[in-house]
């Protein structure tokens, strides 16, 4: 177990190192940062001085090393637009993004697992068809369109729910549904196929033969075994949710990291972009590390691989 943990941890650190390199490289691609950061009417001499002072004349690898050391200390430089440290700006917005992603995940799990189970247990009935069709539509529907349509119906037509901003639970409903729908569809389909597979196993037949009646077979014997792939996909889907929050936050003016980074890109505020990409990716890596460790408790066979 210790070896497994150590290996998994080393792997995550390696991934984070790679992430930091790519994040740094994005800024390197912008060309001459001096021209972006300085006012356009600066003299050639000023530009040279600024480059020397900021270390832009150093070799690539030295610049990357400096960036990495800074990143480890939470220092991504000052936001060009807000004049505050980029790290602080992003960290301030993290709770909003976590709230939205968490709510979306909750919506997805609450809808998808029951729907998937019912679909599998009542296979080829009207319920199954409805859930399958809805899942298929959910998987094909672009998030941003769904968000706009929800605003059209619930905010514009019926004036039931607010269309923008963050505050109480009412503000959370539309964005959470918008962000969660794709994940709902994914998990529904996965639960259905997982349950179908498990329900056809011998031990389920044995349980039934021993006289265990309908619902307990499903809950106790089948769901436990179908749960493993669902737990994995929850880890992966969290990445989808964190990424998807970029668009959902833009539509609903949700004050999270996603919206901040889209605005930062429009404003060419690259330190903020770097901090946002780095921190969101790190969150995702961390969550997947936790999921993997949890996993070994659910299925001890994995440790042995």
């Amino acid at each position: 177990m210790k070896i497994f943990l150590a290996r998994r941890l080393a792997q995550s650190l390696l991934v984070l190192l790679g992430v930091s390199f790519i994040v740094f490289f994005i800024l390197y691609l912008t060309g001459d940062p001096a021209l972006v950061l300085l006012p356009p009417d600066s003299s050639e001499e000023d530009v040279q001085k600024f480059r020397q002072a900021m270390g832009f004349n150093d070799p690539f690898i030295v610049q990357y090393g400096r960036f990495l050391v800074g990143a480890l200390h939470g220092n991504f430089g000052q936001s060009v637009r807000h004049g505050e440290p980029a790290f602080n700006l992003v960290v301030e917005r993290m709770p909003a993004t976590f709230e939205l992603s968490g709510a979306a995940l909750l919506v997805a799990l609450c809808l998808a697992i029951p729907a998937g189970i019912v679909s599998a247990v009542r296979r080829n009935t009207v319920l199954d068809y409805i859930s399958t069709v809805v899942a298929l539509l959910g998987q094909s529907m672009p998030t941003f369109w769904l968000g706009i349509m929800l605003i059209l119906v619930f905010s514009v037509q019926f004036n039931l729910l607010p269309s923008s901003g963050r505050g109480n639970l009412e503000h959370l409903i539309l964005p959470a549904i918008t962000l969660g729908l794709f994940t709902t569809a994914r998990i529904t389909r996965l639960t259905r196929s997982g349950m179908l597979e498990v329900l056809s196993q011998d031990y389920i037949r044995t349980a039934r033969a021993k006289g265990v009646s309908g619902p307990p077979v499903v809950w106790k014997h089948a769901l436990k075994n179908a749960a493993i792939p669902i737990v994995t996909i929850v880890g992966i889907e969290l990445g989808t949710l964190l990424g998807g929050s970029v668009i959902t936050e833009t539509i609903f003016a949700w004050p999270g990291v996603g919206r901040l980074s889209v605005q930062a890109i429009y404003n060419r505020d690259y330190p903020v972009v770097q901090a946002a990409v780095f921190l969101l990716s790190s969150t995702f890596v961390l969550v997947n590390l936790v999921v993997d460790v949890l996993y070994t408790y659910l299925d001890p066979r994995i440790r042995l691989r």
């Binding site: 390696l14 539509l137 094909s140 990445g239």
Partner: protein, 295 residues
């Protein structure tokens, strides 16, 4: 000696696949939808009664079915600059499909290459590629895409390359999985015994057999890429106006959501229907070619 015939799906088997696929009505329906979208994208200039970019302010924001000042009908209405929505929707299929096909081609070829090499040679190379895959997957994809496109500036080639280069992982994993089991199969051993070099074994014997799962992934990935393309143009980081894009039309329509619902509704439906068609076809393809493939 040519052993490929003994190992990879032959033409006759493909015909059998096609027949089985044709029996799945949902897959067939998906295929028809996709064909309609492709044909309208190709034939856009001939199918359209109006110019997709020419503005006509006197006829702005006409509701669906309304006649304009000249007495011409606009089936799905006009937008805030008086342009016909249906025509722009038809033209909007072009960037979507172009990005879809080109990006899938890039990531498909990259992923196929990585998967073949990783699975066949194993060891260090495999480790390196799989760690690279982990790094790639650690990024919230859309955020990475908008960051890079924001830096390089939005243009069709940049969008295609960014999406293409960052989507290889699924292909690589599926192909690698297939190669791992193929590597031990008798026909591969036989090819080795007959003196075939690694390169030849990979290309002639392993690749054709890893092709079916790859094809399924490519089909379903096309749906994802089209959604990403429209998401990018929705954020203003796609193909630039006045060229019509589904995402761009949606972004325009969002402003008028309380007064002119049709602006945002129809381009979204175009995305939904296209992506649904591809998903239905892809699901059918998977169930026919490789039912055990988990995607």
């Amino acid at each position: 000696m040519d052993l490929a015939g003994a190992s990879s799906p032959t033409r006759r088997e493909w015909i059998v696949f096609a027949r089985r696929l044709a029996r799945r009505r949902t897959a067939l329906f998906g295929l028809v939808v996709v064909m309609v979208v492709i044909v309208s994208a190709l034939g856009a200039p001939w199918l359209s009664a109006y110019d997709p970019v020419e503005q006509d302010i006197t006829n702005r924001l006409r509701p669906p079915g309304a006649l304009d000042a000249a007495g011409r009908a606009h089936l799905l209405g006009t937008d805030h600059l008086g342009r016909d929505i249906l025509v722009r929707m038809i033209f909007g299929a072009r960037p979507a499909l172009m990005v879809g096909f080109a990006a899938v081609a890039i990531s498909g070829v990259l992923g196929m290459g990585v998967g073949l090499i990783s699975g066949y040679f194993g060891g260090r190379i495999d480790d390196v590629f799989m760690r690279l895959a982990d790094i790639q997957l650690a990024f919230p994809f859309i955020l990475l895409a908008i960051a890079v496109i924001g830096v390089l500036g939005p243009s069709l080639p940049v969008i295609i390359v960014v999406i293409g280069v960052s989507s290889w992982v699924v292909y690589a994993r599926v192909v690698r999985g297939a190669v791992l089991s193929l590597r031990e199969r008798e026909f591969v051993q036989a090819a080795h015994a007959l003196g075939s070099r690694d390169g030849r074994v990979l290309v002639r014997h392993i690749l054709p057999n890893a092709f079916t799962p790859w094809l399924v992934v490519a089909t379903l990935d096309m749906a994802r890429v089209i959604v990403i393309e429209s998401a990018l143009s929705f954020l203003g980081l796609g193909v630039q106006p006045p060229t019509p894009t589904w995402g761009g039309m949606l972004a325009d329509g969002r402003v008028y959501i309380s007064t002119a619902w049709w602006l945002a509704t129809f381009p979204g439906l175009a995305i939904l229907v296209t992506v649904l068609g591809i998903n239905l076809f892809g699901d059918g393809l998977r169930d026919t070619l490789d039912p055990r493939l988990k995607l």
